[in-house]
Subunit: 388 residues, 4 copies
């Protein structure tokens, strides 16, 4: 029997794409070398700078976020370079794997997947690196596999305190436009982002916001690169164009999405996400379940990963919720496989969508026979109604 009503897409990305963005995307493709494109391209690039909170360039790739990781590394580094990474979870681990495949030498500060990046560990390692073997510090801002946020300003301060010249690279794939993030003010050199989360777009675009220092590093970086090379991008972007055919229709959507974010106001967007995250955590606690993130100051505002009691399968729960309540939740990844489920509460989202989402979880826990207390939705509503 086909499912009636609107599917609840509550994975931590791709998120629910607003109708305004979908309608933008389905406009006829235009000549990517004509004057109308140049105007549109320049507009999109300018809008993106506001969203990344930078006055510098933002590179747009027709690619998934994974591509933007690769671009960050290949544009700035040379084979054998050491990069310092912090094990925040599955995505930090994948980024490390990529660095290895690209012939870099990642140093991985171990973590327990229950908090953000280990700033003290980073500081300690940099302090010892008097030869400056480490060329970059790579941190995942919001670890999508765990719902833990790293303190980027603190990482910056640690690098500065060590007077270390390493570049700071930050993955904001599931935080940009959901959790406050200041590329320029925080002194980030390369910010990596994707379209399908807080930016409210379908997947297919990814981004590098870059600092002058990163741009300079490109000139000596020896990793081979062609598709990802910033050089031709920066040159063509200067007039609103791209060196190869861009994903025109997704750019239409990017324009619409940025306009929506700026109309709402970034501060309001971030406050909305904070509020929904707090309501979600109150629901989780009311159910008597455990939040994967163990450090309150690292709580993510874009998703919440929830641990299941021993002996219960998160995937069985998710399957039941999909079947009975037409909602998709995020699965556990890597060492968290089947141990957690993840509730995405980011993107184009509001109070009643959240209540519907939490209702689906609460009814799903019951349907799947997972031990819990009732009252999670009630707790969330009490918070939302008091703070509306």
């Amino acid at each position: 029997m086909p499912a009636a009503g609107r599917h609840f897409l509550q994975i931590p990305g791709p998120t629910n794409v607003p109708d305004r963005v979908l309608r933008a995307i389905d406009n006829p493709t235009m000549d990517h070398r004509g004057p109308a494109f140049g105007e549109m391209g320049a507009e999109v690039l300018a809008l993106l700078k506001q969203v990344f909170q930078t006055s510098g360039p933002v590179i747009v790739y027709p690619a998934s976020g994974t591509g933007a990781w690769e671009a960050a590394l290949t544009n700035t580094l040379s084979p054998g370079d050491h990069v310092l990474m912090s094990e925040t979870g599955w995505f930090a681990s994948l980024w490390r794997e990529m660095a290895e495949r690209l012939s870099l030498h990642p140093e991985f500060i171990p973590g327990d997947w229950r908090r953000g990046a280990d700033v003290a560990g980073i500081a300690e390692r940099l302090a010892k690196d008097s030869s400056h073997a480490i060329k970059a510090v790579c941190v995942v801002h919001n670890e999508t596999s765990t719902g833990c946020v790293s303190q980027i300003a603190e990482v910056r301060a640690a690098i500065d305190a060590a007077k270390h010249p390493a570049l700071l690279m930050v993955d904001t794939i599931s935080s940009l436009a959901s959790i406050d993030y200041k590329h320029e003010a925080w002194g980030v050199d390369v910010t990596v982002a994707g379209s399908q989360k807080g930016l409210m777009l379908p997947p297919g675009l990814s981004f590098n916001a870059i600092s002058p220092k990163a741009e300079a590093a490109r000139k000596t970086a020896k990793l081979p690169r062609s598709y990802w090379d910033w050089g031709p991008m920066l040159a063509a972007n200067a007039t609103g164009f791209f060196p190869y055919t861009p994903a025109t229709n997704l750019l239409y959507g990017a324009k619409a999405a940025c306009e929506m974010l700026l109309e709402e106001g970034l501060a309001n967007v971030f406050a909305r996400h904070d509020r929904h995250a707090e309501a979600t955590r109150r629901a989780v606690r009311a159910w008597g379940l455990e939040i994967q993130c163990a450090e309150p100051k690292h709580y993510s505002s874009s998703l919440t990963a929830v641990r299941l009691p021993e002996g219960h399968s998160a995937d069985a729960l998710r399957g039941k919720i999909l079947e009975k309540f037409n909602m998709s939740l995020g699965n556990g990844l890597g060492q968290l496989k089947d141990r957690v489920f993840r509730i995405g509460h980011l993107g184009d989202f509001n109070d009643l969508m959240l209540c519907g989402t939490l209702s689906g979880v609460e009814m799903g826990l019951r349907a799947a026979g997972v031990p819990h207390k009732e009252g999670g939705v009630q707790a969330a509503m009490a918070y939302l109604a008091g703070n509306a």
Copy 2:
């Protein structure tokens, strides 16, 4: 500040139009006299018969439901004809007004707006009408202003018991494709319907399903008619065409919507609506509020009208909910103005949309200072989870 996320359109129609229907509607308009149109037209007309549960013709007007009321009357009646109507609420009253404006003579059996049509009253009046002055009995199946359903099969039985030749006309504007309705099996002569409720379309189409007896009545009916005349419609519809330019793009949508309903199965569609209505009533009772419909066997499965405690304004509550929770609810009409609000739970709808909706009401009651008990959403979830 613009509202984020999807608006909850929970008035009892127009309802949330599914993406599949919207995508159908935005296809290029075609030649309404070309062969491809004829094929499409014939398909839509055949599908509609299934939805109306009839083997006879269904006429489609480019018009609102109000137009289909007018069509029902003008095709079958003559100036001065008596029509027997039952005061179920605001829409029954408007239909009576229309009958008067069209120079008919409506007899209106009074009602208290808290139950369906007064079948005993209808039976009694028909029994007395030995001269057969009454030419039609007009009943609203689902009174959208009150959430009360009339028992059409009983009305039919009453007419038959009286051996009265009056036509039976039924307004199913807010019940078709939501609440079980059998045009043919119940012996209805003219069924009036609209596109924007259970049919999951935008407003702009309305319908008359007609019996052979109604078709015969047209030949002697003297009310002037042109736009609404069934004659040219039936002739042109025979080959899938229309006598004047039809609302082509809405017909694309009608095809998609009927296909969706039949894929789900009408029985499943009705069961889904019954279930959501029961969950809603449990929420209302948990809040300690009163359901406008006072007769359980007349409860509507497409909407629930809820009475506010004395001294509280339903419109203030609705305004607060729209402002804080981005949800539209139905207002009180006529004598119920500001006394009730109406929750639409019909159309393309599912459990989590309902939970979001009820959450919005519960938080709104709190925000607006309307006395109530908490736990409505909890009660609804208990029912839904047990019955999912």
Copy 3:
């Protein structure tokens, strides 16, 4: 084998709906009684006034153009009233039939379907009507069946010269927003229009622009009316709302379409149509075929009807063109059945679409074995290139 590429919809309406309008129409339906609707409704109504070139009200019906004909008559006239009509072609004849069905008494000045309304005949009849039996003069501005335009300002002058109080009603269904038309400056009392021609919308909306004199006539007009009644419309429209559920999604489209027309500028829109019509006529002459309109000052700028040589079937030609070249052309209606085909060159249209259209006709004439000379497209291009 499915047809590749875009269909050429070159009937004289429905016309090619621009993507911007289709994208507007497929937005989610909103609450037609909520504040956002009121704002949108007021905007649409204000924009429409500009398109009709009037400062007075424009009524919008969820209905085909045929409905707006009926509305014009029923709001202003009483049973038995004489109306003076001029036989310009098929649509004037249909309007007359409608008047008869509505119990009016139409007087029909005969015509040969090859020119606009017979202004002298109208003047003559009015001069004789010293008792003012004639209550309305009804004229089709652009006769869609023939491609002949009536001179509305001259009709107005004739009425004035006769000092006759009859209302002036004009059908602009296939001229509005294509051929210059000034409701107010020309002293028209009721203008009838539809959505699916120059307004670039799908079918489903129709319009009455009304003068204060027409509005006053409503108060004494005795034809029964309910759906079409201006009274409740004017009252509700004052705040941007409608007395019954409007065709919300088509109104979204109407807003977009009016904005497009005003961005281009009405004068530019009219000039564009004039130019394409002249190019089309040059093509027709080059082919050695005859234009149905025999009076150059009555040439239509929205369509051109073309006569076929004796012994050749226009419908066979149209069928061939549809089959081989994926283009729909208009058929001959009434006495012109199978004698003419009609080329629509109105709406969202440009030079290259016209050249494609004329190429389809020229190749179709050849494929169907209709005697003609080559060079029609060449002649059109010579004109367009010289005037571009």
Copy 4:
């Protein structure tokens, strides 16, 4: 003044995206790890095989065609490997540049940009390469900058005749689904393609169809790769999924586009393109202009590049045509800058769109003062009408 009517996008890609594809793309994004995605993914991958005419795997990247070039090289080759390339034009030159940037050693057989790949030159070089230093032969099937087609089956025969183990890689970016191309039957090892040409999609997807030999080469190839690595792709694709977030909405479009191509039938699609190309060449000859492709058996069926008379600027002509006739044409690239313009006649295209296109060129030549004879459109029509 905004341009009325539909823009003619007649660059050789991106092409006019059909409404059916655009409507598919604007459906809500789904969970890329859920069961519904797996089904859809498997369907798309199976459909693509049919379009590439292969029983082997087709890899889909969220990327431009440029990315698929890079993927072909990095998956199969090691630093310093020799690759044999043939200078067919601008895109062959760019591919060579990319090979250099990736630390390969391209050998470039010079060409005059007026014919397809130099098969004799390839044969000759391979014959001399007894040490098998050459690891791959890379050929552009349809050189988008010149409108010349390379004979892939002949290249295959040359490699076989030389008994040379080099891989055969073919760029079909502007030929796939427009010009007959048989990945498997022609023994191609890696086929490179993009979404925005014959596949009728917006840009943003690119493809590698691969042979077992290519797949085997991956195991020893030492170029660093991560994003482009076939390994994880093949593993995930086996169940319809992707190793990183795919461009979901473009995949919806890919499904619709493949279905359209297969409904029409590939043979019909190719014949349609051949016919439009021949009509275009007849127009060019009638104008007295020169076709860039000097070798008739190398004529492209997807685009025609046209040389301007000495002293005339192709870019000025294109600018005039865009301004006056709302049509985009392709510009001259590299050594052909300002010397040629390119007419794209590929993708979702039909006879009347072609006639409109050629009319725009003919009127543009006149408007721009480029010496030419009239009659190009006439010549094209004569051919099309005779062959329709």
